[in-house]
């Protein structure tokens, strides 16, 4: 009985993940080799979908655009996330204040992403708050057009939505840093930036890695933010897949999906190669 208990307890999780994750991923791979015409998908084994995906300049350009978004968003969320966590962990005094401020940062994560994206419209639009204020102050003569429905808006929305995913793991690792290490550094005469660079950042590496994995995978696979915030101006791999789905070109979408999955897994493997996070979990 005792030996069976863990298996019984883990079984529901295993069954659900097998049915709704493993099996669907197998289906994706299988269908990516299927053939299709304008009305249906035809079971067979062809490589044309992959040839189309990898042979098309559009794919490469789209990947480049998505990777550019990922790099920019990763850099911004990392810097912002690090200093927000730093403030929470080392500047704020008192457990309760720390917890309350941390909650303030996490609560938006539990509200609707789509509403949070839409909420930038009255702010950034042609007649939005920002343009109105800048016009009144005489800083600009004409409303800035690039604020909404642009790459700028996409990056802004990403940072708005995903910085939380960086703050949480980094804050978590910072809270576990033995304070005596920092005191020792102070006693040894280390200055603020030396402590940050040689004590805090090295000890935060696992948190930084986990946050990076979140941001990279979220941005690489996104289609909804690009669609809503760029107004059809920018491309992303996720959007490309979602367009193929709406055209019912499922095998093509699957081939694209398999390639995206491979790219994302390679990026995660690269991050894990640099930082071992196993012991953090």
């Amino acid at each position: 009985m005792k030996l069976r208990a863990p298996y019984l307890q883990a079984a529901p999780l295993a069954v659900i993940l097998a049915a709704f994750l493993l099996l669907p991923m197998i289906v994706l791979v299988v269908v990516s080799f299927f053939d299709y015409d304008s009305v249906q998908i035809i079971p067979s084994f062809v490589l044309t979908n992959y040839r189309d995906v990898l042979g098309s300049m559009v794919t490469w350009r789209t990947y480049l655009s998505t990777l550019r978004f990922t790099a920019i968003v990763w850099a911004i969320t990392l810097v912002v996330g690090f200093w927000v966590s730093f403030y929470l962990a080392f500047v704020v005094q008192g457990r309760v204040t720390q917890l309350v401020l941390f909650l303030v940062c996490t609560i938006p994560f539990l509200t609707s992403n789509i509403i949070r994206m839409i909420s930038w419209v009255p702010f950034l639009g042609r007649e939005g708050l920002l343009n109105t204020v800048l016009l009144r102050l005489g800083l600009i003569r004409q409303p800035l057009e690039f604020l909404l429905f642009s790459d700028f808006a996409v990056v802004l929305a990403y940072v708005h939505l995903y910085t939380l995913f960086v703050v949480t793991p980094i804050f978590n690792t910072m809270m576990r840093i033995d304070r005596r290490l920092i005191e020792a550094a102070i006693d040894g005469g280390a200055r603020f930036w030396q402590i940050v660079a040689h004590v805090i950042i090295p000890l935060c590496k696992p948190g930084i890695a986990i946050g990076s994995i979140f941001v990279v995978t979220l941005v690489m696979g996104d289609f909804i933010t690009v669609r809503l915030m760029s107004g059809g101006q920018s491309a992303s791999v996720g959007l490309m897949i979602s367009n193929q789905i709406s055209l019912l070109q499922y095998p093509a979408a699957c081939a694209n999906a398999v390639v995206l999955l491979a790219v994302v897994l390679l990026m995660i493997a690269a991050i894990l190669r640099i930082v071992a996070i196993r012991k953090e979990l």
Binding site: P12, F20, P24, V91, Q93, L110, F123, H160, A257
Partner: protein, 276 residues
């Protein structure tokens, strides 16, 4: 008096405090804007200035023609959220208990759970949609979308349980065992009361993540929309503040659920310290 952990000048402290305040403003500012704008007068537009103050757009929300099927979508989302919440809580606790010991396949199951979190949502959505298609089943919000959302909520639930059981003192359970408690009694009267605040946390994640889920639901919900799908549909064809009214209502609902969960956690903690 504890020494401040990091030597920071007053200027450094001020800069970081200002930075943090700006960040919070950045997080909440836009949402506040649309909450204010949802109270636009009947002739008001999508941006400032306010053209009077009214509840006009909230009333419009409940008229059948203004938005698609708001009441139906809301009902479905609340039901689905509750289903996902209950399932996530039960499965996460059970799996959390299981992972306290090594068992054959525990490593693989852990990897699969983490993979569930990081595989792009659109792939999960597409995969489940195709799976149902090939199996000849109609995707619905209570079957395929339910499963799709669980692949998103379960990893969060399990990670929270991991954090709890890592700090869990086994001595309590052993004491109960010595006193002759059955496995169920040990769970019900010893483990559950200790992990209760985190269980509320898992429930909160389960409900809100489901209630707001979009990408994994998109290709799995079938013909009846959940609320986020309905909202997304509106973004392309609704150009009145009714959209903001909808945003205010759903965000308000989320805040209500979050507040209830935090209150429950505080209450449980309070009761626990009093009984000691």
């Amino acid at each position: 008096m504890r020494r401040p952990p990091v030597t920071l000048t007053l200027i450094g402290r001020t800069v970081l405090t200002a930075f943090f305040c700006l960040f919070v403003l950045f997080l909440y500012g836009p949402t506040l804007t649309i909450i204010i704008l949802s109270f636009q007068g009947p002739n008001g537009g999508l941006t400032f200035p306010m053209n009077g103050v009214s509840l006009h757009w909230f009333a419009r929300l409940f008229e059948p023609q203004a938005v698609g099927d708001f009441a139906g979508a809301l009902t479905r989302s609340l039901l689905l959220g509750s289903m996902v919440m209950a399932t996530t809580v039960v499965i996460s606790i059970a799996a959390g208990l299981a992972f306290r010991r090594r068992f054959i396949g525990s490593g693989a199951l852990f990897t699969l759970t983490v993979a569930s979190l990081i595989i792009p949502s659109i792939l999960v959505s597409l995969g489940i949609g195709l799976l149902f298609n090939l199996a000849g089943l109609d995707p619905t919000w209570y079957t395929s979308a339910f499963g799709a959302q669980l692949t998103w909520t379960l990893p969060f639930g399990l990670l929270i349980m991991f954090a709890v059981f890592n700090r869990f003192n086994r001595a309590w359970e052993e004491a109960a065992l010595d006193l002759g408690a059955s496995p169920w009694q040990r769970f019900r009267h010893v483990v559950l009361p200790i992990i209760a605040p985190s269980v509320v946390g898992v429930a909160l994640f389960g409900f809100t993540l489901s209630y707001d889920e979009f990408a994994r639901t998109l290709l799995t919900a079938g013909s009846d929309n959940t609320l986020p799908l309905e909202i997304f549909g509106m973004t392309t064809n609704v150009t009145t503040p009714v959209l903001y009214a909808l945003g205010t209502v759903t965000t308000g609902l989320s805040f209500l659920v979050i507040a209830a969960a935090l209150a429950a956690i505080a209450l449980i903690r309070h009761a626990a310290t009093r009984s000691e």
